[in-house]
């Protein structure tokens, strides 16, 4: 049904696109990017697989159910906010953790990153659910 050119391009571009989505997710703290855009790019990579190889093949690439993925992301994003409440701060207060690892530059982990990761998972799960559902309809 699909052409050889499309299948070859889809196979090559999958890893590049997913890597770029991780870059967008991580760089989103100080530059354009962030969880939403990164999630859309990752979903676009998987949608291209669905277009080239069929929805069943793309579903096998994501070992988790899309609804569970979105729910996990929502839990993570909400958990970041609740964690601040537990520590006696206002909801969604962000914290910054400095790690000094040996033989490694200083690592800064902000709690906003985990919120962004939750948004990423929600967007990937939702978009895949919608597109796969439309393709199968």
């Amino acid at each position: 049904m699909t052409s050889l050119i499309l299948r070859t391009v889809a196979r090559v571009s999958l890893h590049l696109t997913l890597l770029f989505s991780v870059f967008l997710l991580v760089s989103g703290h100080n530059a354009p990017g962030g969880g939403f855009i990164a999630g859309l790019v990752a979903a676009a990579a998987l949608v291209l697989q669905a277009l080239a190889f069929g929805v069943e093949h793309a579903r096998r690439m994501v070992p988790v159910d899309e609804t569970a993925l979105a729910a996990l992301g929502l839990l993570l994003a909400a958990g970041t906010g609740v964690a601040a409440l537990v520590l006696g701060q206002p909801f969604l207060t962000s914290g910054l953790l400095h790690l000094d690892l040996p033989f490694w530059p200083e690592v800064k982990i902000s709690s906003a990153f985990f919120f962004d990761l939750g948004v990423y998972l929600v967007v990937v799960g939702m978009v895949l659910q919608v597109i796969f559902g439309l393709r199968e309809a």
Binding site: T17, F20, L24, I37, V41
Partner: protein, 84 residues
């Protein structure tokens, strides 16, 4: 240097206008799909020009996003047209 980039952006604007006319007028669905793909290419070119004009590498991220996502959109349109 930046004057040249402004001229290039103006030429892109004219060209994008022509592609938009094809998108609106296009007698067949294939014409419209091609026109929308051409418009996506124009956005990529315009973002590259803006990256040169403002000396800001952030626009290159935008170029990558539009290239990847626009490609998926064109493939989806093409399959839709193929099915009839």
């Amino acid at each position: 240097m930046s004057g040249l980039v402004v001229y290039a952006l103006a030429a892109l604007g004219v060209s994008a206008g022509l592609a938009l006319a094809r998108l609106l007028l296009g007698p067949t669905a294939q014409d419209r799909v091609m026109a929308s793909d051409v418009l996506v290419t124009h956005v990529v070119a315009a973002l590259a020009m803006l990256a040169i004009l403002f000396r800001d590498a952030v626009f290159i991220d935008g170029v990558l996003v539009v290239t990847l996502v626009g490609f998926v959109g064109t493939v989806a349109y093409a399959q839709l047209v193929q099915r009839g």
